[in-house]
Amino acid sequence: MKRLTILALFLWISFSGFSQNMEDLLDTQLLGESKPDYVTTAFKSVQLINGHTTKLPEKGDWVLLISHRFGPFNSGFSSFWGLDMATMRLGIEYGLTNTTSVGFGRSSYKANYDLYAKQLLLRQTNGDKSVPLTLGISGSANVSSAKWPDDGRTYLFAHRMSYSLQLLASRMFSRKLTLQLMPTFVHRNLVKTPEDHNDIYAIGAGGRMKVSNRVAITAEYHYLIPGQIANEYENPLSLGVDIETGGHVFQLFVTNTSAIYEAAYIPETTASWLKGEVRFGFNISRTF
């Protein structure tokens, strides 16, 4: 009889133990359910400040981009510290797939039309099959439709063309910090002076630091390997703020460049931060 009591007690204990482990039971039932957990929140917008980010529009989404770069602050009261003048770009980017996008834009700088494509090769992923960074390439072809100067030279259509090719490597280090490297190659068919090379190599770096769920501080800099361009040109540096409000991302920043496509802002930035020739600019992006 004693044995029976012990047995009954044992069964009772194991039974009550069971019901307490409902949660463990559920967790074991859940195992084996894992999809790749892609990091999709490394950037708020497809643009960092001037350049591209590794964020692409989702498949089938359109992103409308409206960008302005005003005149330099040090132009003074007569031009309202630069706000009287502006260069602009209107653009769209479309997500062909979640890893491929194409874009088209028109800048007032050199009356330029740009056509570009972005392709992600690797996506940063959390979890079992972890991937440490997002890797993409971006290429653009540009046509300037500006009138040629009346200087008696012969200009060909090919002289209107310029190109850029970029590697985009980003990593979201924490829920706040994302950094991106963008080694860039620019080719211009026509350059202004003999000191300017047709082929330009630069290394870009940038990133964002979130200060809240919807606001982030951003920075972007491109270092041109010396000896490729005339002395009058400067490396582009921009500092800004991203504000996301539902479907819109507002990017407000100060920068020393007035062009808004790679083949121009990388080799053709003339204003200098040290001389105070910085300007205010903004990008508005809207996803449809």
Binding site: M22, L26, Q29, E33, T41, G246
Partner: protein, 184 residues
């Protein structure tokens, strides 16, 4: 003596098997719906997991926030990044008890009312709630349905002023779970 011993084991065995009848799913349907004059927002999660013990009335349910699918991917991204912060709080968890488990009989035909008292944890905040639903035997499976209201504010989910008119203060949650007998 042996006979008694054997029959008692058998009896306990049966009662445990009968008592410990557990039902589970990991493909439960959970939908939330926010309705305002400006826009309706709907998200569906088909990967709700749930286990119910009909002996004790215990219910545990878990849900990955990232598995909610929205009509617009951007909404889904904002939901995860800005509202429920699913990188910090990946799961929604419900732990509770069916209060009327004593009168609930799965061998009966038709739908029977169920009331559940549960702790719901979303966004790191736990709230105790009473939920009314139904349970029904559908071809040997336990079909459990419920609709209830959750308030984002209760779970410390902040909705900025700029979109305050687009997101309802009360979110309707619909749950449809088809729970299968759990073989152990």
């Amino acid at each position: 003596m042996r006979k008694i011993f054997f029959s008692i084991i058998l009896l306990i065995g049966i009662s445990v098997a009968g008592f410990g009848q557990k039902y589970f799913t990991r493909s439960g349907y959970v939908r939330f719906f926010s309705s305002t004059p400006i826009e309706n927002i709907e998200a569906i999660n088909n990967q709700g997991s749930c286990i119910v013990d009909l002996a004790t009335g215990e219910v545990v349910s878990k849900l990955l926030m990232k598995s909610f699918v929205f009509e617009k991917t951007l909404m889904q991204e904002h939901f995860n990044e800005n509202y429920v912060e699913s990188d910090l709080y990946p799961q929604a968890v419900l732990k509770g008890k069916v209060l009327d488990v004593g009168s609930f009989d799965l061998s009966k035909k038709g739908s029977q009312a169920i009331s559940l008292n549960a702790d719901i944890t979303i966004h790191g905040v736990t709230k105790n709630m009473d939920i009314k639903g139904t349970g029904e035997n559908v071809e040997g499976k336990l079909q459990a349905n419920a609709t209830f209201i959750l308030k984002p504010a209760d779970f410390n989910i902040v909705i900025p002023k700029i979109v305050a008119n687009n997101i309802a203060k009360e979110i309707e949650v619909t749950v449809k779970f088809t729970l299968e007998p759990l073989k152990q």
